[in-house]
Amino acid sequence: MFAGVAVLALYKGMLHSRVRTVIDAEVAHLQIHDTTFKKDFEPVFVLQQADSILKVLHSMPEVKAISARSITQGMLATTTGSMGVQINGVQPQQEYEVSQLKKKIIEGDGFHSGKKNEILIGKKLADKMKLKIGSKLVLTFTDSSAEMVSAAFRVASIYRSDNAPLDERNVYVARENLNELLGIGNGLHEIAVLLNRDEDLDRVQRKLQEEFPAYQVETWRQISPETDLMINTVDVYSYIIMVIIMLALAFGIINTMLMAILERTREIGMMTALGMNRVRLFFLVLLETILLTVSGTPIGLGIAWLATNYFNKNGLDLSGMGKEMMSSFGYSTLIYPEFPSDKIIGVMMIVTGTAIISCLFPAMKALRLQPVEALRR
């Protein structure tokens, strides 16, 4: 019971953590783009009604923060090599609020006002390209006139998020610097919107889509379909895990009940000799198993609840178990397990069912005991 609930709690915590990372640190609740922009990231497809959109967003009480970005795909080159990246032109304060970029910085202290062509790069990219704070690099991309543009940038900070592939692919520069190079003036390609409450998501999306039908208003579920898929399949995965745990439980129960029968062979033989029939003997083993399960369930449940609550407050650090691996799948190594209250009834039914099925073999063993042989032992 403890193992089942603990795994579900861990799984729920990991999933919740992943969803929060997606919303609070990667894509925000909503993103607004020109309908053709995301097809091939042509700089020319800016949001024509950006000011109107921003005005509407600022007037909505559901909106917590907004980050208006200009985006292009380009090549990052250093003396050691080159790599394709997504260049995000951002307003630092907005970005710090929407994607918590400031909190992710592990080296340097972010953008410096007044300094031109500063760039924030991910730790994985920095390691791969052997870049440090102050290192110089060249970004090359096409501008709005489809002309190749190159510019030198200096690494101002290095950040690290829970999603290593994202860190490798995304670099951040000041929006005015990028816009100048792209030749789009004050143009914007993307507006990321963070809401106060998750529950408002669909309503705000509908409202914005109705107001600006010419643009693509997408929720995080549409932008990150793999996370959405994960949520939708969580029950299946968790029950698969439960089945594996139940297999272990079944072996435990079979072992316990076989031992109980083995230890009480004489007693069972005596009861059969005195007149206890096979049906009663079968129900005796069944009842003992059920009592074992019933008495173990609240204990397991209680320990699981205490452990889950403790780690929910203090976090469960799994960095020792493979930080790189967790990060490469976009998961934080600090998990806050959540007690799976919604699945307790299901887990209890599975545990009881497994216990009953598991006791069949020991019960058959007991039924096959001949009183004479049993009494001789």
Partner: protein, 239 residues
Amino acid sequence: MNTVIDAHNISKIYNPDTIPVYAVNNVHLHLLKGEFTALVGPSGSGKTTLLNLIGGLDKTDTGNIFINGKDITQLSAGKLIDFRLHNIGFVFQSFNLIPVLTAKENVEFVMLLQRIKRSEREKRIHTLFKQIGLEDKMNSRPSQLSGGQQQRVAVARALASKPQFVLADEPTANLDSKSASNLLDIMALLNKEEDMTFIFSTHDQRVIERARRVITLVDGKVVSDTAAVDTNVLHETIK
């Protein structure tokens, strides 16, 4: 006098396909109600096997055993269990009380299997504990009782189901002489007052001396039976 046990030509053979060993060899037995019988013989003579066959705990290879006219060798396993429950009481050498139950609960266990009403159970329990002289130990667990006391509880358990007869396999083997004497007194009293039939296997000379009929087994065969004479006398008397 009613016949309680009538066994004809019964045999129990171990290893019949290799080297056959006759644990019980072509035994005929006729026991009447109220007999106080000892099965004696050296170790391996077949005393316990014969008791097991009579008690329906083991299957005969040949012959038939009639208990109150019913051939128990023809009963299915399930019906045999039910037959034992209502007709035969057992006392085992090593007591075999259920350790987690009290003395009272051990005695009550058989009556619960028989689905006897609570009031009737209580009444019978008090009578039995009075007869075995352990009224003050009813709520003690087996571990809190001496060997002799445990065996007396086992006798009470055997009698709780109001059986036709009681089979006792070396009932005094694990008891000191005083406890053995006490147990025999109780069994003899029950035999006398309630006309309860007792058949016990034993090596114990004190038990043999108290028995009114002694059947001696050697190599699975009955070599002597004191009742052969007694029964004839009895039959003559009836005539």
